[in-house]
Amino acid sequence: MAEVTVYTTPTCPWCNRLKDFLQEEGIAYNEVNVAEDPEGAKRMVKLTSQRSVPVTIIGEQIVIGYNPEGIKELLG
């Protein structure tokens, strides 16, 4: 299964909701908290051209915002 990485901030409600969804679905993921990790923040902007969290990277695909359907579709 493709690796799932979620870029978040702790104060972002949609990030927390997205993490709840991933946990409920039993989807393993890496979390990059961009509030604590400036390099992670730079990497997120470079990889995704986004400056808004949450962003999920699945393999090489990007899912913007809280989009459970988009994530399910990519993970089959």
């Binding site: 901030t9 104060t11 409600p13 923040a41 986004q50």
Partner: protein, 314 residues
């Protein structure tokens, strides 16, 4: 289609909707809450220091506790965004974005508000690519960046403070008139070298290619336009009510639902509470109180309708 009937349909699960649900469930009313989320605007608030019983509490944590209190055999929750309300005889029918329909004898509208947009070129195109409405969420992505904040109210100044806290390079605060934020907040930014104030200015366009590279602003006094190079723009110009899905209800010029002191709308059987209404105080504690009032009146309405109907049968 599943036609489960409820005594009461509550649209929205912010402080007003959740409080109303707790009250009606305690009255034994079969209550359905339909909402696209739980917590509403409070989820976007960092620290709440004026909700009684909690000296300091994070907004999402307060809403988690509200949700915990919504436990009852009479209470049901469905995640859906209501996009229509119509009447069918004695019942009301809500239509959700999922195309599902929900049937009930009374309705409480507690849909709250959402961030207002500037409605200028570039705003939609660069949303998430430098345009943001949530500084508590997205400020950390603007370390060492130059950023514009639009709006001189408390949330605008708070956005400036959030950006200073993560070491933004420069913050331009653009306000169409003067700052209207609480003095205690203004005092925290007024001597900051990194903050450039532009009162009496309008943002007219957001510029960029793949991401935001600047904004155009215009002086209200002279009409003179200038470009500012920035990587981001936080739009904090207030809120607008989530009320457009209901045409039958009387609203004021801001689109807020007009209610009387019992939370009754102009349509018998439909009540409204919280920030979506024209009640001027937009506070968590006020919205909760209004939710309780609406719930008690909805209960009274149902009791009276049953009595009237029994009377007719005799």
């Amino acid at each position: 289609m599943d036609k489960t009937y409820y005594d009461l349909l509550i649209i929205g699960a912010g402080p007003a909707g959740m409080t109303a649900a707790v009250y009606t469930a305690r009255k034994g009313l079969r209550t359905l809450v339909v909402s696209k989320d739980i917590g509403g605007q409070v989820n976007w608030t960092t620290l709440v220091e004026n909700y009684m019983g909690f000296e300091k509490i994070e907004g999402p944590e307060l809403m988690r506790r509200f949700k915990e209190q919504m436990q009852s055999d009479h209470l049901f929750f469905i995640e859906d965004e209501v996009i229509g309300l119509r009447r069918d005889g004695e019942n009301f029918i809500l239509t959700g974005k999922t195309t599902r329909e929900y049937w009930g004898k009374t309705v409480i509208v507690a849909t709250g508000k959402r961030p207002r947009m500037l409605e200028i070129p570039g705003e939609e195109e660069f949303r998430g690519k430098g345009v943001s409405y949530c500084s508590t969420c997205d400020a950390p992505l603007f370390r060492d960046a130059s950023v514009v904040v639009v709006g001189g109210g408390n949330s605008g100044v708070q956005a400036v403070l959030n950006l200073l806290a993560i070491n933004a390079r420069e913050v331009y605060l653009i306000t169409d008139f003067q700052l209207t934020a609480d003095q205690v907040l203004i005092d925290r930014i007024k001597d900051e070298d990194k903050v450039k104030l532009y009162p009496d200015h309008l943002v007219t366009e957001i510029l960029g290619e793949t991401m935001v590279t600047g904004v155009k602003i215009k002086s209200r006094e002279t009409g003179e336009e200038q470009k500012i190079s920035v990587e981001g723009i936080f739009i904090q110009i207030g809120l607008e009510p989530n009320s457009e899905f209901i045409n039958e209800l009387k609203k004021n010029e801001r689109g807020e639902i007009v209610i009387d002191c019992h939370c009754r709308t102009n349509v018998p059987g439909v009540f409204a509470a919280g920030d979506v209404t024209h009640i001027p105080e937009k506070q968590i504690i006020v919205a909760s109180g209004e939710g309780a009032k609406a719930a008690l009146k909805a209960w009274e309405y149902l009791v009276n309708s049953r009595l009237a109907s029994d009377e007719q049968k005799k």
